[in-house]
Symmetry: C2
Subunit: 352 residues, 2 copies
Amino acid sequence: MFEAFWRETGDAAELVIPGWQTMSYFSDVGNVCWFMEPLFDQQVRRLHRTVGNAAVDGYHVLVGTGSTQLFMAALYALSPADADQPTSVVSTAPYYSSYPAVTDFLRSGLFRWAGDANSFVGDSYIELVCSPNNPDGAIRDAVLSSGAGKAVHDLAYYWPQYTPITRRADHDIMLFTVSKSTGHAGTRIGWALVKDREVARRMTKFVELNTIGVSKDSQLRAAKVLGAVSDGYDVGGGGASRHRLFDFGRRKMVERWRMLREAAAASGAFSLPAETSGQCNFANETAANNPAFAWLRCDREDVEDCAGFLRGHKILTRSGNQFGADPRYVRVSMLDRDDAYDIFISRLASLK
Amino acid sequence: MFEAFWRETGDAAELVIPGWQTMSYFSDVGNVCWFMEPLFDQQVRRLHRTVGNAAVDGYHVLVGTGSTQLFMAALYALSPADADQPTSVVSTAPYYSSYPAVTDFLRSGLFRWAGDANSFVGDSYIELVCSPNNPDGAIRDAVLSSGAGKAVHDLAYYWPQYTPITRRADHDIMLFTVSKSTGHAGTRIGWALVKDREVARRMTKFVELNTIGVSKDSQLRAAKVLGAVSDGYDVGGGGASRHRLFDFGRRKMVERWRMLREAAAASGAFSLPAETSGQCNFANETAANNPAFAWLRCDREDVEDCAGFLRGHKILTRSGNQFGADPRYVRVSMLDRDDAYDIFISRLASLK
């Protein structure tokens, strides 16, 4: 969806790497995250200051191979190494389907998926808080609050194209990724903002043991791309340009949600979460919540498996039960290419 | 150590990526390894055909974030998901110190480090075979041979600059990495050659769950670099040039090993593995084994901790006990920068 934007920016986000560059394992031996390129660190902090969506002062920036690796790194860092039982990992349903899969695929003795946070009983846990939430776009806060419990905030979608920036988030561990902020999923670069130095050290240790660091080439490319995004809004520095990613993304998302709500109304067989809005401190205006996913419910009495029903009409979605929810719901991606999205809309509108 | 070579190659290995390129998660949906760039696959196969160190026909190529990720992927793929006990992971001592660390850091219920392969008793296991071996450069074969057992061959150092290419390896699972073949550790790109499609599928699943694929930017850079190496020897295609990586690397390693043996002799306090050689099918001549690491033994009666003794003389090494061996031994890297290596040599020679 963002490709059209980056085609227009010309060489502003072009990366050139000579054959002899960034050959070493090391990038910044003085940093807790010794394999992180200083330029990436700088551009991450600069973009958060530009957008105002997360605090960076007093935080350690950590780079990961996508935010998935940093998600595992956080579980590793927050699980007591000497515990005789795996630490329980929970999240409020509907929760991102990858959370249970990634938590349990290696059957770790350190942590284990324990389901819906609302039904969890105990003091020791790791609560995953995704806000705006994947799959339903809800704005979330942690629901558990034990002294021994920890929270990991997955803020992959807390950017102006998806939701109003209502406050500067300042949680202990916050995860972000270029795949959702700029659209560069293929670079596999994510980052974490971490308050506690020991947690940052253990998360870094995980990435060291897992992949001995993170691609320098992609770190430099991400730095270039994030820098180009900040440049678009750099009024003070005079760098402000007509290439403004969040404006482009916001226009796209508003248009796609309008199309989707019209299609659902035309069909009459589906319902969507009610539109919410808030004051966006970044845009300085009231803005609607335009989630990257649509949490679609089939209202037909005779349909209990919405994903199966839609598949029968050549619409591919992910079933609600993968998110710990009712299979009458499905998750639909709102970030597909224009042509694919248009086909989806026309097919949905035609369903009665 | 290889940086000087790549500085000389000019733009032959330079990578340029526009801001809009390789944004997707997907690279080749028809391939078992759906996130692998076809160009990377092609250049990996081409280089192995050029060097003759490994068979590629009938093999699946898989890309990983360094070979460490593919090492974990192999453990995941070879461990029965339904086993009530973790599969035992073994390797002949002295073994690479990361093998136990990477195998056990998540306390997986699927696999568990079980130490020296020579003292292992049982039918079900995964044997790690590193050849030439890290840390001692020995040429190795699997020592276990049960029908239920599996082997993973780590061939990171099976390249002409380190050892004679005596045969085209054709094991079930073979791991390689650009960090040791071309020196590009910072790109974090490794690859696996896998015979069995189901094993390849499960290894791919591991990378999917762990990092949702591998940096496209680094895959394209690795393809460019591997292609430049093959070009250097592409006599038939007329592309053969004065830039021949393995010739450069071989000269470097021969020189460094000469310096090290002289220093050890001058000191009199250390001994090294005996030099071995063999017929190299790639160079078409008899060539010596020039390991990327020196397995140095301190012969002084009063020194039981060689690493500690050397640290006292400002020489940093890794102790033998980290490799499941006698602490009278240490591992010394032979791939450091020229200036650092020269300092090490002079300090070692001065020790009595």
